[in-house]
């Protein structure tokens, strides 16, 4: 059976499953990114889990809609922005006279708070943001190879 790019050609079961599972995957991945210092998890794992939302979106709605929603240029810009922010947070240690990526403000909150780790939590968030955008951009690139030829007219403008 052939999947066309429009909604009509999709199987309704797949579409409904994508609709139902997408919010759970997004919320769970974002929770794992945000609470990296307190509970098990971290930036890399949570970022990949959020990027799996792009896969669900593709399974439900096809390449053209996924691309319209995500926007490859926005993803590219945000990925490099996350990398730059991580480097700046590492340079904070040098500014205050210690090594690169040394944790200076670790006494911020009481033990177990969200911000108790100092720069650890901020670094985790930047890495999560970077991995989220980067892996979803990679998935979008792979989807572009699977896309049928009918949507070529839109693709000529970009990539």
């Amino acid at each position: 059976m052939k999947f066309k790019d429009g909604i009509k050609g999709r199987n309704i079961v797949v579409k409904c499953a994508a609709d139902k599972l997408l919010p759970f995957s997004l919320v769970f991945g974002l929770y794992i990114i945000l609470f990296g210092t307190v509970s098990p998890g971290g930036g890399f794992q949570g970022g990949v889990m959020v990027a799996s939302g792009a896969l669900l979106l593709y399974l439900g709605y096809g390449y053209a809609k996924t691309r319209k929603v995500l926007g490859p240029n926005v993803l590219r810009v945000n990925e490099s922005l996350g990398a730059i922010l991580y480097v700046l947070l590492g340079v904070v240690g040098i500014v205050f006279g210690a090594n690169f990526a040394r944790n200076i403000f670790f006494d911020v909150g009481s033990f177990g708070d969200l911000l108790s780790g100092g720069t650890i939590s901020f670094m985790g968030w930047t890495v999560g943001w970077k991995v989220l955008t980067g892996v979803s951009f990679l998935l979008l690139l792979m989807f572009s190879l699977l896309a049928p030829d009918s949507s070529e007219d839109e693709e000529e403008e970009e990539i």
């Binding site: 990296g36 210092t37 971290g42 590492g90 670094m123 892996v135």
Partner: protein, 118 residues
């Protein structure tokens, strides 16, 4: 384009000059005769030698004192090994950039082939 080239050349020059300065300074300063290992390790306030375990004992026993993070793995990844994480994330960035280049070119060549066939 010209301003971009000038900015890139300036950045390269700054990196080169700082690197050369660091290498020459380090060559004069960090000689094996001048370094006293035990003095350095005992004198530092934050990182001290634990009897046999070394770094792993420090990470496990003094995690909360040094980082105040509940998740020890996050403390290792983003604090003790922050430089390593920088390299990992940049590996991801370069991998995605490389796959972007390859996949985009494949598509173009496919289009050209189909155009030639037609």
């Amino acid at each position: 384009m010209k301003t971009k080239k000038i900015i890139a050349l300036l950045a390269a020059a700054v990196i080169l000059i700082v690197g050369l300065r660091a290498v020459t300074y380090g060559y004069n300063y960090y000689k094996a005769e001048n370094v006293e290992i035990y003095k350095d390790s005992d004198g530092s306030i934050t990182y001290r030698r634990v009897d046999d375990g070394g770094v792993s004992d420090i990470i496990i026993e003094e995690d909360i004192e040094k980082t105040n993070a509940m998740n020890n793995v996050a403390a290792v990844v983003f604090d003790f090994r922050g430089y390593d994480t920088l390299g990992e994330s940049f590996i991801l960035l370069t991998a995605i950039a490389g796959s972007f280049v390859i996949l985009a070119r494949n598509k173009k060549s496919k289009k050209e082939e189909t155009a030639d066939e037609v």
